[in-house]
């Protein structure tokens, strides 16, 4: 579907299910997504959209016996150039890839840091495991990484425990850990969501810089459209387990062709504009209704119950992703009429 050369990550027809007491539910329903080297792709959506489940599927971190990949492939090109389908790998093979070829950063840095080991030890650990490095050279590399992620006085900080660092510093430390083995792909799942806005700005700036310097691919999961515009080259908007719109960030945000994307962008109060709106007595353009439950999905287009463009045909079948142009796709049968 994507003609761009050389994706390092190429997800095709991914379907991820969860087994619950109420039966099987589909959290991710037929996702196609690719990330090229040097490219940042944002997966954006609200709670329950399937954005995090998609990233967990790639990392092979779905909760065993609960979540499972039911269909599709996830081709990944590792550092040695070999391309393998991650869906077919066993846990042992996945463990070799995670932390080595694929780095991971999560929302809550304390969930990735062990409170009883020093920060330096934890960054050195993947280097020792994947690189077979001795303790001393691994620790030297760890200090170097802490320095690269902008932690002042890196040598002293390496000897400290996670609780001795601020939230922003901890997130820098987990980024250092993720980068320890020079991954080709960094998966960042809401990495700035728990941080204050001035610290978020620092971390975004750092991620942009590291991604450029290292030419990594980055899959960036977020609910924040502002963050997407700040960091990503391409964006895939998810709703109820499916990608509903996809394309270069500038193109999608300037010219959204799916009613959900259009609605999301219009419902955000914008700095500097809100005063004018208020004075003019304008309301925010809220999207009516609520996100549907995965256990009880509407027929056809999942957004149709909330959509002002919806017609009978929308409820008849799930719309295909239509090509707005070579790079931009919308899962809406009326995409030609959608726009600002």
């Amino acid at each position: 579907m994507d003609e761009r050369v050389d994706p390092i990550l190429d997800i095709r027809g991914l379907r991820t299910i969860f087994r619950t007491r109420g039966g099987e539910i589909t959290a991710v329903d037929g996702i196609d997504l690719s990330v090229a080297a040097g490219e940042t792709v944002a997966l954006v959506g609200e709670s329950g959209s399937g954005k995090s489940v998609t990233s967990l599927s790639v990392m092979g971190l779905l909760t065993r016996n609960v979540g499972a990949i039911a269909a599709g492939s996830i081709h990944f090109k590792s550092k040695d150039g070999a391309i393998r389908d991650l869906v077919t790998l066993d846990e042992k093979q996945m463990r070799r890839i995670r932390g080595d070829d694929i780095g991971m950063v999560f929302q809550e840095p304390m969930s990735s840091l062990n409170p009883v080991f020093t920060v330096g030890d934890q960054i050195a650990e993947p280097i020792r495991i994947h690189r077979d490095a001795d303790r001393k050279s691994a620790m030297n590399s760890a200090v170097g990484l802490l320095d690269q992620v902008g932690i002042p006085d890196a040598k002293r900080r390496a000897g400290q425990y996670p609780h001795e660092l601020s939230g922003g510093m901890r997130q820098r430390a987990t980024i250092a850990m993720a980068l320890a083995c020079d991954p080709t792909l960094l998966i960042a799942d809401e990495p700035t969501t728990a941080l204050d806005v001035t610290i978020q700005a620092q971390i975004l700036d750092l991620l942009i810089k590291l991604q450029r310097e290292r030419g990594m691919g980055m899959l960036f999961v977020t609910h924040n459209l502002g963050v997407v515009a700040e960091i990503a080259h391409r964006v895939a908007v998810m709703y109820a387990g499916r990608i509903v719109e996809e394309g270069p960030v500038g193109e999608v945000f300037r010219n959204p062709r799916h009613p959900y994307t259009l609605g999301l962008l219009a419902s955000m109060p914008r700095l500097g504009e809100a005063t004018r709106m208020k004075q003019a007595g304008q309301k925010l353009a809220a999207i009516p209704g609520i996100v549907p439950s995965l256990a009880d999905m509407p027929d056809g287009c999942a957004f149709s119950p909330r959509c002002s463009y919806a017609i009978d045909a929308c409820r008849a079948a799930v719309p295909a992703l239509a090509a707005v142009n070579a790079m931009h796709r919308s899962r809406c049968i009326r995409w030609q009429e959608v726009g600002r």
């Binding site: 609200e46 709670s47 601020s166 939230g167 922003g168 510093m169 204050d196 806005v197 001035t198 610290i199 978020q200 700005a201 620092q202 975004l204 700036d205 609910h223 924040n224 459209l225 502002g226 963050v227 997407v228 515009a229 700040e230 960030v249 500038g250 945000f253 300037r254 609605g263 999301l264 962008l265 419902s267 955000m268 109060p269 914008r270 700095l271 500097g272 809100a274 005063t275 709106m277 208020k278 309301k283 925010l284 353009a285 809220a286 999207i287 009516p288 609520i290 996100v291 909330r306």
Partner: protein, 318 residues
Amino acid sequence: MSAAPFLTVRDLAKHYVSRGTKLNILEGISFDIAKGEVVGLVGESGSGKTTIGRSVLRLVEPSSGSVEFDGTELTTLSAAQMRRTRPRMQYIFQDPFASLSPRMTIGEILTEGLKIQGIGTRKERMDRARNALVQVDLPAEAVNRYAHEFSGGQRQRIGIARALTLAPEFIVADEPVSALDVSIQAQVINLLRDLQQRLGLTMLFISHDLAVVEYICDRVIVLYLGRIMEIASSADLYARPQHPYTRALLSAIPSPDPDAPRNRQILKGDIPSPANPPSGCVFRTRCPVALEACAHTIPELREVSPGQFKACIRDDLN
């Protein structure tokens, strides 16, 4: 600040002692709110915005300072007197999951305050609960259901309805939309604005989201590490921020507009600990324009243009 203010806060301070260390959570907080006005409190973690909101309603006891509500000094009221004042002042909490009891029906939740206040018969109380639900665009029949049957946005509406049953004049809304998804957030913001205008409510609106605050508030107070940095009308604050912290905060917010200029000013370092705040201006350790003098004196909050106040000694910027 023309007519007699409805709420007057003067020199409010809150200190805690934690393991022998004194934490200065709030220091020298003074502001007024006029009747029918919506004032925003913005700041990052540890700025003290929630502590101010709770101190005003005496959900936490301030260490010193005064809070005058409609001519009555609240900080010296007895518990019984305070309880009589409470119906006029209500609080809306951030987390619509934690703030509603899972064991009580929505009707019980909404009438609890009325019951404590001894207002009305059981039937009258239930009627008020139904009425409050309708005001927040929920069906009146919801009184018979439980919180878990509702989505996050609906639960936040229930939290708002709970505050409304007592017909308050003043509401502290503490991050009321922060836990909600973007598409739901706008619904609740519109609802809060509608209710505020329809009922003539006076509101203290606490949020870390400056765009939401701009939309809902008439005036904004910017906090940093327990102190006020700037106070201005929303129109002035967003168009002409005066304090270096306000400027940095506004520039740090990522804009979804791909054509917006990306000239972010990135503040270095972390927010200092309230156990060990910097001398002089608390912002000086991260301030891009700090001078030697900033370490020596605590800058006074002064009016730099009509209705706009800043606590910064640098007047030579702009």
